[in-house]
């Protein structure tokens, strides 16, 4: 039998299809159990990412989804694009996520997320360092849970230091400068960092903030206005300027930490500040030419001792989430002890749970964990505020000018303070 398609049959067919499409979903769709759909906004690995986005705890994740009747979708972006994507989505009122990754942006985006952390189980909260909540707390309310202990520490090439006659990593600023100088020869440099991007945690300004605390300074006074235009601020920048002749000259053009990491792992630089993830990369022969020679230590002390900054990688839940309880349960899964353990063993990102950090297997696989815990005994304020990006661009740009010799350290710090004062006053006005 043959059928012939006429305009009439075509019209009838499309009308019928339209009528079916307009029926309610329960009349047309297959019968499913009630499943909760969760959407998670996360960084792309190798930056810290959850199970299912990074390759760890995949079986446990599948079991959790089955047990909870939940579907989890990930939207992942390269780390440098996260803030702007999120801020745009929140500003336009079209943020589609239940859970979002935050990195120092909680004060800025606080009005779009809920203070869920107080509802986390007590056993879990007790197993987290209380200081880890400082960067996710606004007006006394806890808006997030940090999921990785991520402080800057010193990473160095043991073989290069040995050859230069240094049996131990530098303990203070003078040793740091002397060591960097001795390591600089034959195309190799004593130090490398990514000074190309002024903004954000892990940007140029945040490195200066690390030295600022080592010098005994702080960013803001009690009134919220900047107070870094003093000896500590200038000394911190002067140290960075003094290190420049022994710093890989490409540093000023490296916009991301991975560019600088690659230089150290290629054996072309002796030391750098970096996040704990570097340990895994440095131990992988596919990524590193210095396997077995990478070592870690707490950051050299300034006049006030050692200090660092906090990576502040945290999970938060959006106000627009239709399933905030289920979203909180997913965060609890991310912070489960076994998942935290696989996180460090498989990806190199340290756990935040104290019990997991104390696990012998974890300490054997990630010997830098002990260093990070030691670093955590010293100050590690990231100075996050509602205008953190604008502040760090202003400070980081002035730091870059000093590093390039366009300004003295004192002039750059004075100009930076003026700009930050204007930014803070504008926000408060």
């Amino acid at each position: 039998m043959s059928t012939r398609m006429s305009r009439r049959t075509l019209l009838q067919g499309t009308t019928a299809a339209g009528a079916v499409a307009s029926l309610p979903r329960f009349m047309t769709g297959p019968a499913f159990a009630d499943t909760a759909k969760l959407s998670v906004f996360s960084p792309l690995p190798p930056d810290p990412a959850p199970p299912g986005a990074a390759k760890f705890s995949e079986d446990a994740f599948a079991q959790w989804k089955a047990a909870k009747g939940a579907e989890v979708e990930y939207e992942m972006l390269a780390w440098p694009q996260l803030h702007d994507r999120m801020a745009t989505a929140f500003a336009s009122g079209s943020a589609p996520w239940d859970i979002v990754y935050m990195c120092g942006w909680v004060p800025e985006l606080q009005s779009n997320i809920i203070p869920y952390a107080d509802a986390l189980p007590k056993a879990l909260v007790d197993d987290l360092p209380q200081s880890s909540f400082s960067t996710v707390t606004v007006d006394g309310k806890r808006y997030g849970a940090v999921f990785t202990l991520s402080l800057l520490t010193l990473f160095y090439n043991k073989a290069m230091l040995d050859q230069a006659g240094f049996k131990a990593p530098p303990k203070d600023w003078d040793e740091l400068k002397r060591c960097a100088k001795e390591l600089t020869h034959d195309g190799n440099y004593g130090f490398v960092l990514n000074y190309g991007d002024p903004a954000g945690i892990g940007g140029t300004a945040s490195y200066w903030m690390t030295y600022l605390q080592q010098a005994g300074g702080k960013m803001y006074g009690e009134d919220g206005l900047p107070v870094f235009k003093g000896d500590a601020g200038v000394d911190a920048l002067q140290l960075m300027v003094d290190l420049m002749p022994f710093t890989d000259p490409g540093s000023i053009s490296y916009a991301g930490i991975n560019d600088a990491t690659n230089v150290l792992l290629a054996g072309r630089a002796g030391m750098m500040m970096n996040w704990p993830f570097m340990w895994n990369a440095g131990s992988d022969p596919k990524q590193s030419k210095i396997v077995g020679n990478l070592a870690s230590a707490i950051l050299p002390a300034g006049p006030a001792g050692s200090a660092s900054i906090d990576g502040t990688d945290a999970w938060t839940i959006t106000k627009s989430s239709k399933n905030p309880d289920k979203a909180r349960e997913l965060v609890e899964f991310y912070l489960d002890a076994e998942v935290q353990k696989r996180q460090v063993l498989d990806t190199g990102w340290l756990p935040i749970r104290l019990s997991v950090l104390a696990d012998p297997e974890v300490q054997a696989k990630a010997p830098n964990a002990a260093v990070v815990l030691e670093q955590a005994k010293h100050p590690y304020d990231s100075f996050v505020t509602a205008d953190y990006n604008e502040v760090t661009v202003a400070v980081g740009t002035e730091v870059q000018k000093a590093l390039q010799g366009q300004k003295t350290a004192a002039q750059a710090i004075a100009d930076a303070q003026d700009q930050v004062t204007a930014i803070v006053k504008r926000r408060k006005s």
């Binding site: 009005s111 779009n112 190309g196 991007d197 903004a199 000259p249 053009s253 072309r268 390039q404």
Partner: protein, 303 residues
Amino acid sequence: MTVTAATFEQRRRRVGLLFVLPALLVLAAVLGYPIVDSIMLALQRVTLTGGAIQQSWVGFDNFQRLFADATFQRAALNTAYFSAMEVVLVVLISLGVAVLLNHPMGRFGVFRILLIVPWAIAPVANAVLWKWILHANYGVLNGILKGLGLIDHYHVWLGTPVSALNFLLLVDVWKSVPFVALLILAGLQRVPSILYRAAYMDGAGPVQSFLHVTLPTIRSVIAIAVVLQTIWSLRVFDIVFVLTRGGPADATALLNFLAYRVTFNFLDLGYGSAIANVIFAITMLLAILYVWLLWPRPAGAKR
């Protein structure tokens, strides 16, 4: 009073307008609304609080802020230099390429296909490609120059303000030349060959033919290329974002990048809109010039 029936021409125009109306409505929604909204935003202080956008009218405060903002002034100067140099370089190189392609030996299709490659590459892919070419440690450019013995150590091409801005310029010129070259080539192919024969009969050499026949004939095409390239150079964003993030020390911050940074990174939507409106005003003026150049004129009339 007598009511006269509409003429055929009046009815034809009325129906024509009716047919064009949906397109006009779409244009108003897609183009007109964002433009008007952007201008309104520029007159407000906009903050993201309480889960919603808080707006308050501030008149021309955001525009006044531009005059006191050293970063804006730096970006405006960078953009002026970038645009001027880009237009000069792109048009000159494209003219040379077009003349070569118009030569009998250059008329193989493969040359035109090769020419179009840089233009066809996606903007971000193009920027990432150049990131690796210019990388201070692993860059192809350093490798080639050192291999040829032209440099004795690797250079940080994006490391100093002057070098970084000029390398961004180079990257954008590389990407822009193909389209403008094809535009000028189309103009060259419209030059009547009889003019060249007449010039030859008058004793003109190749250079004189080019100066007195070719250039005057394609003058309007070059003018269009200049205007279009100026507009495009004001819109440069991707190469700045991928290669330098505006650094070092704002040396490569162009106006379009600054508008993005202020709006989406600082979430200062009002001030960001003011910067964007400055770019829009300049672009609008150039677009009007472009339309004026293309407007049909009676034969023999001068532009």
